[in-house]
């Protein structure tokens, strides 16, 4: 390879990681998508390897020469040159050389942007999103594949987030790629009626990806927050593209932003989970809340109302309250009433019962829990027992409350949940004694 051009010989004042946030990860994801279009989806791994090598070249040279003036363009050009090496060496790709050369010729000497036109890159990334979130790929593999190919996570990071082994994640990725080949999944943005259906699948996968990062029950906290950010970024790319710019996409993005804005207040200094009631609202990320409210307004265009609209509405009610006491529980309840109609999940019904109890008292909450359809699936869910305990405690039924907290404690998954429940249990036991 020729010496990299466009390099500043003075090392820059700021470190590269601060200069451009997640530069390698995001540029890498872009290039994997574009090279996949050229090589063909069956050569996804090759595209990943080429981009990995290009990033390795950056790691090899930047520390000595500093960050190039246009780091993203540098990574692109290096990936493209390495891709050319590959197609020239491998007979199967001989006919692809013209395609890459053609891309090279588009490069005008004055502007690096012209190497790959922005729109083409955006299209490639969206195609990749539709592949990763294809309904034929099992959902756990979808998340792993999206994190690997679109977000540049490696197997170790994904396994840390999902609290599983690297081997298990590697297996999921291999199976997902096999599925892509067997089912002849195409690298394309669906059109017409299929677009709507497939878009629902993509939204669902991004929602699950976000939740995977958001749920505090397990895994490495920093990696998980990164996953939330990546889910937000991908959904943001979706709303910016004509094929994804739908009211429900805006609603999903609003929901993610409004929830993620509360992350900084969710744990205390010791890493203990804090209830909404206990959170210091000054830690909420205000710019993120504002972005969330913006997309919530965008989502109101058109007639459709999706589960994302309702959940974003609920999140917005919490964000709009200046303190816990001024929460508009009636508005939240009316949104939950609509949500249980669209989403029959017992977990949604359990959340509705909590809201109901906040308005009509703990007895109404207990009745609502008793009336949950398929409520027995919640029996192994620690939160059901924690909520029952809370309601009983408010009714001063200390013995019943203690029983529920005890059961909940047995099912809790994290240390902070356990500590919280143990504290509630001790309070009930104190009351029983006095």
């Amino acid at each position: 390879m020729n010496p990299p051009q466009n390099i500043d010989h003075e090392p820059p004042a700021a470190e590269v990681s601060q200069a451009v946030e997640h530069l390698f990860r995001h540029e890498g994801g872009k290039m994997v998508a574009t090279l996949t279009r050229i090589f063909g989806l069956e050569h996804l791994t090759l595209a990943e390897d080429v981009v990995q090598e290009a990033l390795a070249r950056a790691l090899q040279t930047w520390p000595f020469y500093g960050v190039p003036k246009q780091p993203a363009a540098w990574i692109m050009r290096t990936s493209r040159n390495l891709a050319l090496d590959v197609v020239r060496r491998r007979a199967v790709f001989r006919q692809k050389e013209a395609q890459i050369v053609q891309l090279m010729e588009r490069e005008s000497p004055s502007s690096d942007k012209a190497i790959f036109p922005e729109q083409e890159i955006a299209d490639d990334r969206l195609r990749m999103m539709f592949v990763c979130c294809h309904p034929l790929i099992p959902s756990e593999a979808q998340a792993a594949l999206a994190l690997k190919t679109l977000c540049g996570f490696n197997v170790r990071e994904i396994s840390r987030a999902f609290l599983t082994t690297e081997a298990a994640i590697a297996k999921r990725l291999v199976r997902a790629k096999q599925k892509i080949r067997q089912a002849k999944i195409r690298f394309e943005i669906p059109v017409g009626e299929e677009l709507g259906r497939r878009l629902d699948g993509v939204l669902q996968s991004l929602y699950l990806l976000f939740n995977e990062g958001y749920k505090a029950s397990s895994g490495d906290r920093l990696v998980r927050e990164d996953i939330c950010q990546e889910a937000i970024r991908l959904t943001g790319l979706l709303v910016e593209h004509p094929a994804g710019n739908q009211p429900r996409t805006h609603a999903l993005l609003a929901l993610m932003l409004l929830d993620a804005a509360r992350i900084p207040a969710r744990v205390d200094g010791q890493g203990n989970l804090l209830l909404l009631k206990e959170q210091d609202r000054s830690f909420w990320n205000q710019p993120m809340l504002a972005r969330g409210m913006f997309h919530l307004a965008q989502s109101a265009a058109g007639k459709e109302i999706s589960v994302y609209h309702l959940q974003a509405g609920i999140a917005a009610c919490h964000s709009a309250a200046k303190d816990y006491e001024s929460t508009d529980w009636r508005q939240i309840l009316s949104l939950y009433d609509q949500l249980v109609e669209l989403d029959h999940s017992p977990v949604v019904a359990l959340n509705r019962a909590i809201v109901l109890a906040n308005i009509h008292g703990p007895k109404a909450g207990l009745d609502a829990i008793g009336a949950i359809r398929d409520g027995e699936v919640l029996n192994t869910y620690y939160l059901l027992h924690a909520v029952l305990g809370e309601f009983e405690a408010r009714l001063r039924h200390s013995k019943a409350a203690a029983r529920h907290f005890q059961k909940s404690l047995e099912l809790a998954e994290t240390r902070s949940e356990e500590q919280f429940l143990a504290k509630r249990l001790r309070a009930c036991e104190d009351q029983i004694r006095n």
Binding site: R25, G28, Q60, G152
Partner: protein, 136 residues
Amino acid sequence: MNTETNNGYMLLFRGNEWYKGLSPEEMQSVSGQWMAWFKRLSEQGKAIAGNPLEPEGRMVSGKNGRVIADGPFAESKEAIGGYFLLNVGSFDEAVAIAKECPGLPYGAKIEVRHIASVCPMSEEPHVRAEPALAQA
């Protein structure tokens, strides 16, 4: 470098493989730390030069340089990926700097060598110190 005062030391970064398994995020982070490290050493006057080396090269050998071969010549875990030229007071200080290398936690390997003050070929043969290897 000042060979007359005997302060020249070379850090040789060995291996072209250790960063291959890193995620893009980790690579960016190492790259940023490395850049800051090199910048600090330059500002302190401790690093005089530093360059990465391309993996490919040519080997010239044979009488009158008749044999020229292309290719990487060392195993990639042994190949020299780059170097720093240091101007510091002692071997210990050079080793201490090598120990700060941000690549160490990921398996980078640094060879520390003292630049000879006088060409050793012109001196009496003597026992040479083994090169010190700073390793994770």
